[in-house]
Symmetry: C2
Subunit: 121 residues, 2 copies
């Protein structure tokens, strides 16, 4: 049996993350908005992290346990390590239920990133 995660994780709710920012076509980003957005992009700037992120997003219900997504050729602690940045950037909500931590893509935050890159806006 796989070793369960034991790290304590902050439980982020989607509502906690203030969706940011204006579309890039709307004008120069403020320093504060640029810092927030850069952190979000940075959180997805690693291929392993991005594959795990896509596995969570495409999992039934948009939610997955590490046990569901650990078949990308890395160990479970490595999976948890790779999910740390998107979690800290507010792109993933994580919640412990019993033994496992479940991760869910934060829809409003990811939608804000898509909006920011919407050139028609």
């Amino acid at each position: 049996m796989s070793k369960p995660e034991v790290t304590e994780l902050p439980v982020l709710q989607d509502g906690d993350a203030v969706p940011c920012c204006p579309p890039i076509t709307a004008g120069e980003l403020s320093q504060a908005d640029a810092e927030k957005m850069a952190a979000m992009f940075k959180a997805l700037s690693d291929p392993v992290c991005l594959r795990l992120f896509s596995k969570i997003a495409s999992h039934p219900g948009g939610e997955a346990c590490v046990c569901d997504i650990a078949d990308v050729g890395v160990s479970q602690p490595t999976v948890s390590h790779h999910l740390k940045k998107p979690r800290e950037a507010g792109l993933l909500n994580s919640e412990r239920r019993g033994t496992w931590v479940y991760h869910q893509v934060a829809p409003s935050v990811v939608a804000a990133m898509a909006t920011m890159l919407d050139l028609r806006a």
Copy 2:
């Protein structure tokens, strides 16, 4: 007068960059797609770069010369340095006209990033 840029730049056309990738909700990204997308996100993971990128995107005609956008508190060589990553990732098309290099946001590549983050897809 400002010092003109003298670096030779590859001229990328928007059509050269193959828009990638499927929406993250469509399934697990392939390793190749994850690497391409991670490079694009990485190119926007710096606040200064992101502010410059938004200045170009919001400039009349979606195009700007370094001379147009160099008022972000960094030197012109620093501006050019910060634009190197998005250019290499295909997010900016750059073209020399006379003394200046003009940068334009590559619409299909940025649209592909937005599509990838579209949770409704």
